[in-house]
Symmetry: C2
Subunit: 701 residues, 2 copies
């Protein structure tokens, strides 16, 4: 994949220049300095010599094949250069220049032309508006980044060229090194999806690290990321998640990033370790590159002082991981091998008397114990502390089964060098909190990797009925469905709907009520009245014929008075729902990631407390249950606080049915069941109100 | 304050030793190496010479006065050494040894003896179980920490000796330096309160930085910290805040730390910048030491790349600060001075063409503009970036009125040294997120410093009535008050209570109901029934005499059947409350910090969503309103979502009345009004149910 981009045998630079400061100079100089072994062909109409190489006036003049063409000319000259590359049957083109889509209309036109040339010519295009590509394995620096990082384990990609450089710097500083680095710029052809696929299969890459602001194709991205995560950890910082961040991103990429909740759901599905900060990106990548994934969340803390013990225990528990009490056998073993001044507990505080051999012994004991999933070593500088010898002792006892990570508190001059630590394979952090952040990311990745097989249930449904309703509505351009029609659709997908009928006379309303049984509710049906309750358009719990007649008449009177021009489709007479817990199930179709399911408890839980969870469709039973569990108000579903336990499985089924409906019908743009009334176990949930919106038919050409 | 501890003219070391590795050796060696100018007197029964100094066999033999005595002998010999110091009329003693309170009963006895000796002798005691004290201004290293840090602006104190060393290391690494450092150990005499007072008045200390696990005297701490914060920023990391952290702290200090909510409320009151991690401690201290406090939360971001612009804007907004749009005049000025490729927006992305002079110009413009409160500069490495020159340009344009902080992304080798940055007074962070964390801490400190004058209102109340009830209950040891008596007390403090009376007959219940007016509620009064609703002991909304009689009889029947042994004080007949919003007001008396007020919306908001806020009493009107505003459900109080706007002022008054009540009567241990029903503006809130607990009288000697 992208073989001729990442591992070209020969490279041409169109726009190679002798003027220092120009990109065409930097690129040539970088290619030559990095020590790339194959031919590097400068091309410039001016001809002559450059860095002791003959300059070709046009690419066609060069007799042998060219794999990669770096185009280092201004935007307006790029299409012509691309044509040259196509004629030469190059495998890939890197366009460095800015001034394309991100610069407005004129730039967008040039970019479209460039894409067309490459597509027709069968040449892959990186950029434009990008830094280029680096492959340390073959000393390739086809970028205008001054330095080529040391060879190593991180496969880096970035939508920002400047951050790509920063990431390579940090990889170097942390002594992890880089396998490949690629700046994807405007992503006119090659996107994060291609890069994920390439790095997933790249043997030199142990961890993929990326910076993204938007995603080109949500569906492809999720699939590619899921495959990549199965092979190796993928850590991504997604920026542009706030209003201000989105504004900033849009201003220099020309793309709106979309909703962060959708990205969150997509990353979770794909097993991506999501970094919340630039530091976290490397904090996580370091641990994931150097250590095995933990089997669970139980952390043994080993330290040499009370203060660091306390602080580290806080950090682990605050991160939602566990600091288990020692089992008696573990306690006994540790006591035998640690000095008498040690506090044998978790954290294990070996005390100021800690010698390197004590750490080694504690690690050996913990690694062999089934109740410990990871080890956090926190060293505080004390009079007798020997940091360097301690590190040697620790790394000599590292193990492939349990991750060990460390935090050494204090200044770097008394601590062993990062180089020594990284070379020894011990991830190292300036604070316990950051070390724990990395442990947590590893743990979550482990949980994802060992997730149960995804089995999406398909329920028997009346798909044709829904098809018919949608077609009819789309053709008459009535795209917003009210309660009655929405319920028709939901019924076809197996939801329980209360018996009811629409009528236009009070007499018939009574007849209907008698037929379905009291008590009933009356609801006005009107496409032009949005908030029907506000206009007195909903009356509940009517227990007799007289109450139905009175309510009907009053409702018509009110509406005639306050909304005389409203189109009234009639009054809906519906059996009252029994009492239960009100939940909301919704779906919005994200432009990137497709149907995104929403769940929350009704009323103020959603509206005020914003206590909702999201998940991409299609969803499994297990994932639906996870959605319920991840609300803060989950307790209420479990039947505490005076509320009876509700049928969680029934809610999960409702979510799966909506998942099936909205996956079957991409025409449904959004959908809300609010509320769905859920009863005790064994009772079907009941749809009390619902609405949905369809997409308009594409306009005819 | 603590003059003879921090700035002694002469020092003796009891237990001075020639054996390397012993504390008595380390202390002597550290004192001599640091270059302290006054006499240093080694004392050891063995006599002889040490480091070319004559060793006194006993302290009394030394003819001149001694200010500070460092006791470097094992715990059991410490009391005798302390006696020597007392006889010498020393000003302060430092006890380094462990083996006191933290080591169990025997150690506690020695510690008590030591405290008694020092108290009687009028000598201040630092420790035991501590590292000692450092004062860089006079080259004093009276500690067993190997190194004395460079002189500088941070006044450090720590309850953990190991972390004290780590903190000095970090202060050095960040080139901030240390004024004083003091390890307070077991805090047998000198506590964080003394240290806060001393450092607050220390002219060399610009920022106080502390690590604490527990606080010795909450009230004194809050007062001392408040005074200190008024003079200079105080940044504290409070550890032991989780279950695991608390367990760890208790195991090595022998002290339970208490509730984190109380610490949170106390720190807030005292203006302490609370650090959530070891790194944050120095992140905040760096900014506070080097830059002025911002006047508001509006941040101008200046950067040189789109990626860093996006990431930084995210960081500011996620922290709850603001990235304001540029005003037209600001935009115009920036456009005039920045290159054409710059994106003139906030963030200001000067683009890859950014030269040092552009940063300087942007800073000058922003500093002079009234709509900008702080400047965040984020530099991403690019081909043309000149980090060192950029830093010089930035620091040449720093200003005393607006804080400027920076984050340079990438490896340290292409970046200017920390030394250069700190010397120039520019706080510097590895990531935008951490820089923003520091900005936020500065902003919050600024808000605290400019908070309105605290005026605690005193309402006219019937204090004597409450006094009488408490006295009677305490003397009969009936310390848990039920609804009726609690309401009596609340009434005396101006709360509106619904009319009602206790009765033992159904007939009288009807009479009472007729007198106060229907509908009424019946509630069983029983000290032995805790959950009266569960036993059918509460009936609401009784609208007629017949309903009252039926409810009364049924209630007695149920209770006789299900709780035949319950002591029934009668049935309380009370007028039904009108509908309104249910809120909960509570108070728990924290053992450290005294009465802590609690507020939350009733029912699930408190019980499930844990949406509550806390504040130390006494509280001002302004602080009470802040309590309401800081709940997540505040929206509901403002009259949205179908709920009418309630009288916020009335709730604030209720909080202030409870503040007054619980400040007036330290005997009240806890109190709950649940619910208080709050109506629209102008309606008095009504206490529907309440309970409280009194302290037992101290047992007679």
């Amino acid at each position: 994949m992208l073989e001729r981009l990442f591992s070209p045998k020969s490279i041409a630079v169109i726009g190679a220049s002798r003027t220092e400061g120009k990109v065409g100079y930097a690129t040539m100089s970088n290619l030559l300095e990095s020590g790339f072994a194959g031919p590097i062909i400068p091309v410039n109409p001016a001809g002559g010599e450059l860095f002791n190489l003959p300059v070709y006036t046009k690419l066609a003049d060069y007799p042998d094949p060219i794999d990669l063409v770096v185009v280092a000319v201004p935007a307006e000259q790029v299409p012509a250069a691309a044509e040259e590359a196509v004629r030469k049957k190059a495998g890939a083109i890197i366009v460095v220049a800015a001034g394309f889509r991100e610069a407005g209309r004129q730039g967008r036109l040039i970019e479209d032309e460039l894409i067309e040339i490459c597509r027709k010519g069968g040449v892959r295009l990186l950029g434009p508006n990008c830094l280029g590509v680096i492959n340390t394995a073959i000393n390739l620096n086809a970028s205008f980044s001054k330095r080529i990082p040391q060879a190593g384990q991180l496969g880096i990609f970035s939508q920002s060229g400047a951050l790509c450089t920063a990431m390579m710097d940090i990889a170097d500083e942390r002594e992890l090194g880089v396998s490949k680095a690629v700046s994807i710029g405007n992503k006119a052809d090659i996107t994060e999806v291609d890069i994920l696929e390439a790095l997933a299969h790249d043997e030199e890459t142990r961890v993929i690290v990326g910076y993204l602001e938007d995603i080109s194709d949500g569906d492809k991205f999720v699939k590619a990321a899921e495959k990549a995560s199965t092979r190796k950890p993928v850590v991504i910082l997604k920026a542009g998640i706030t209003v201000a961040g989105n504004r900033a991103a849009a201003s220099h990429t020309g793309v709106q990033a979309g909703k962060d909740t959708a990205y969150g759901a997509a990353f979770k599905r794909a097993g991506i370790c999501r970094a919340d900060s630039f530091e976290a990106l490397f904090d996580y990548a370091t641990a994931l590159a150097l250590q095995p994934t933990p089997k669970g969340d139980r952390v043994l803390i080993i330290t040499n002082a009370g203060g660091s013990a306390t602080m580290s225990a806080d950090a682990v528990e605050k991160a939602g991981m566990s600091v288990p009490l020692l089992t008696p056998d573990l306690e006994e073993q540790l006591r035998q091998h640690l000095p008498p001044s040690a506090f044998i507990d978790n954290p294990v505080d070996i005390s100021a008397a800690a010698e390197p051999r004590h750490y080694a012994a504690a690690i050996d004991i913990a690694v062999a114990h089934p109740d410990i999933d990871s080890i956090l070593i926190v060293l505080a500088p004390q009079y007798m502390t020997e940091p360097a010898a301690t590190v040697r002792a620790i790394v000599a006892h590292l193990d492939e089964t349990i991750p060990v990570i460390a935090s050494f508190l204090g200044g770097s001059d008394i601590m062993p060098s990062r180089k020594e630590l990284a070379a020894a394979g011990l991830p190292f952090y300036d604070s316990p909190e950051r070390a724990v952040g990395a442990l947590k990311a590893m743990h979550e990745y482990g949980v994802w990797k060992h997730r149960p097989a995804r089995h999406v249930v398909r329920f028997p449904v009346n798909r044709r009925r829904v098809e018919r309703i949608i077609t009819r509505r789309q053709h008459t351009n009535r795209l917003r469905l009210g309660e009655v029609k929405s319920k028709d659709i939901l019924k076809a997908y197996g939801f329980q709907i209360l018996p009811g009928r629409v009528t236009t006379s009070a007499e018939e309303a009574v007849e209907i009520a008698r037929f379905i049984g009291f008590p009933v509710a009356l609801k006005v049906i009107s496409p032009s009245i949005v908030h029907k309750s506000d206009l007195g358009g909903v009356r509940l719990n009517l227990g007799s014929a007289q109450e139905v007649v009175d309510a009907f008449d009053l409702m018509m009177l009110r509406i005639n008075k306050h909304a005389p021009n409203a189109i009234i489709g009639g009054i809906y007479v519906e059996k009252m729902a029994e009492k239960g817990l009100e939940v909301i199930i919704g779906m919005t179709r994200d432009p990137q990631f497709g149907p995104m399911l929403m769940f929350g408890l009704g009323g103020i839980f959603v509206e005020v407390m914003k206590d909702v969870t999201f998940h991409l469709a299609p969803i499994t039973e297990d994932e639906a249950i996870q959605m319920l569990k991840s609300t803060r108000s989950y307790e209420l579903l479990q039947g505490k606080r005076g509320v009876k336990e509700v049928d969680l499985h029934a809610i999960a089924v409702a979510l799966q049915r909506i998942s099936q409906l909205t996956t079957d019908f991409p025409q449904i743009l959004d959908l809300d069941i609010n509320p769905l009334i859920v009863g005790e176990i064994g009772n079907e949930p009941v749809v009390v109100d619902a609405r949905m919106t369809f997409a308009a038919l594409p306009e005819e050409q």
